[in-house]
């Protein structure tokens, strides 16, 4: 399907639907043979809110390739549909990335994610609705944030969030946009990506008054990979970094340990049990010997 923008006159061809959310659809499209992503909105004011954020980021970004390419209305099926065009970035959602590339690949992806967040924070914005679905990872680990519906100027109340990623839900703070809000969600994101089943079970069974970051840390502590990131996770959940650059640096320092983590297929607790058996065996042997 081909259409021409009402105000700016650019011609787009819609190629295929990439995804649909609560407030619109994202299409792979092309303009003059160059691929781009188009977000078609359901509501003009809603979509304009997102466009405003992207435009503000565009001005804040230093020497970045532009992300927002156009904002206009499309005449489709007899009505005006507001849309904006973005640079097309191939990649897959975090959970899929982890399934394909294995848990060790989060070392690089996590650090790239924090780079993206640092850029945003330094420009005066918080991403807000950080979650697995809103983070695309390219095969090399490069990260693109998508869906800026939650992006909020620092100091305001977060515009949009997802319960299990929200520090208010976990009784760990309010919903005022500040970098620490994103750090918290980033920590939950890695728990969700690596230990999703247990996280979901926890949120289903935990009574609201018992929600607390320590419950998340309990998952981290007993997970074969996440436990190597426990210090970072604790600092992120408690908002204890001085800024997002420090969060990135600490992530890199600790993520090195993921390389030495338990091999795929042998959960940490099993490795631990094997060790315990050995120690017990040794103790028995010693006792036997001194008898």
């Amino acid at each position: 399907m081909v259409f021409k923008g009402k105000w700016n006159g650019n011609v787009y061809r819609l190629e295929r639907l990439l995804g649909a959310g609560s407030n619109g659809q994202v299409w792979l499209a092309s303009r003059g043979g160059v691929p781009c992503a188009l977000k078609l909105g359901l509501d003009a004011a809603d979509l304009q809110g997102e466009t405003n954020i992207l435009a503000a980021l565009e001005r804040g970004g230093r020497n970045r390739t532009p992300y927002l390419l156009d904002a206009d209305d499309a005449r489709l099926g007899g009505q005006d549909i507001p849309f904006y065009a973005m640079r097309y970035v191939p990649g897959m959602p975090v959970r899929q990335f982890v399934r394909r590339r294995g848990p060790r690949a989060v070392a690089a992806a996590g650090s790239h994610l924090l780079d993206r967040l640092a850029e945003l924070h330094e420009a005066g914005w918080v991403f807000g609705d950080l979650k697995c679905d809103n983070v695309l990872v390219a095969p090399g680990g490069q990260v693109t944030l998508v869906d800026y519906g939650g992006a909020t100027r620092i100091g305001r109340s977060v515009r949009q969030f997802t319960e299990i990623y929200d520090r208010g839900y976990w009784r760990a703070g309010n919903r005022t946009a500040e970098p620490a809000y994103d750090w918290f969600s980033a920590a939950v994101l890695w728990v969700h990506a690596l230990d999703g089943d247990r996280l979901m079970r926890l949120t289903r069974t935990l009574p609201p008054q018992n929600r607390h970051p320590r419950e998340l840390l309990r998952l981290v502590h007993t997970h074969p990979y996440l436990r190597h990131m426990e210090i970072w996770m604790r600092m992120a959940l408690e908002g204890r970094f001085s800024d997002t650059r420090e969060a990135t640096r600490r992530w890199r320092e600790q993520a090195v340990r993921l390389d030495h983590a338990a091999p795929d297929g042998i959960p940490g607790w099993m490795a631990g049990m094997a060790a315990a058996t050995l120690v017990l065996g040794a103790a028995t042997a010693v006792l036997w010997f001194v008898r």
Binding site: Q48, A71, D73, E163
Partner: protein, 251 residues
């Protein structure tokens, strides 16, 4: 901006009609939203219809949800009502000033300005939300979820830049002359929220209408003349904000 959020699981059976009460609230510029909480079984057609008509008369919206969804729904409804009210006010101004029906008809650069202004207003406008909780016997197992929803709403309100406050009532009260009881007067703090509903007596009646009227009265008592207008003015022609996207900047 003033809102009443009624949370119930049945329908009224005593006193004035809640639909009339809601329209009285709206006449005082208080918007009434309604949530039906249903965990097992059904609300029944009569209950569902009543919820919808109360919200319609009160200029608000209605939803029927299960208790795990309550906190999210309360927060979403409150936010959408703020945004919706501001949009309505702005669109009215646009009609008067520019002769367009909505922001969607404006060219993108102007649209960007107006939307930014609407968002500023949504964040900074003074907001008061009074929750009115049906505490009849069938609601008893859901009161934990209700408390959680109140706490969650308080967190969101506390995070706003604008002045915000929440108050909580439950109904019915102790005797026929007291349709509802004030559990928590206006507050903007989350920390003080302990157990909200400690001394609730079983009562057979559901005086939804009288309880709504009592809350409207509370607004009048505590907020004085509440018919305040949202301060609003469109930027003068040619006004440029550095944070507003001009379509010429892109593409």
């Amino acid at each position: 901006m003033n809102q009443i959020l009624l949370i119930t699981d049945g329908h009224s059976n005593v006193g004035e009609s809640p639909v009339l009460a809601a329209s009285r609230a709206l006449a005082q510029d208080i918007i009434v939203n309604v949530i039906g909480v249903v965990d097992e079984g059904e609300l029944g057609l009569a209950g569902a219809e009543e919820i919808e008509s109360i919200a319609r008369a009160g200029g608000g919206m209605s939803r029927i949800v299960s208790s795990p969804m309550l906190a999210q729904t309360v927060q979403m409804m409150t936010q959408q009502t703020v945004v919706g009210t501001i949009r309505m006010t702005v669109n009215k101004e646009l009609r008067q000033l520019l002769g367009v029906d909505s922001v969607a008809e404006l060219p993108p650069p102007k649209r960007a300005e107006v939307v930014r202004m609407m968002e500023d207003l949504s964040e900074t406008t003074r907001l008061r939300v009074a929750l009115l909780i049906d505490a009849s016997a069938s609601m008893r197992p859901k009161l934990n979820a209700v408390e959680e929803a109140v706490r969650d709403l308080a967190i969101s309100l506390q995070s706003r830049q604008g002045e915000s406050a929440v108050a909580v009532f439950h109904f019915p009260g102790e005797d026929p002359y007291e349709p509802c009881v004030l559990d928590l007067p206006w507050t903007d703090r989350v920390d003080g929220l302990g157990k909200l509903f400690r001394n609730i007596r079983m009562q057979g009646t559901t005086p939804t209408g009288p309880a709504l009227l009592r809350v409207v009265e509370y607004f009048r008592e505590t907020c004085g003349n509440i018919k305040e207008k949202t301060e609003l003015s469109l930027p003068p022609h040619g006004w440029e904000d550095p944070d507003v996207m001009r379509s010429g900047d892109v593409g």
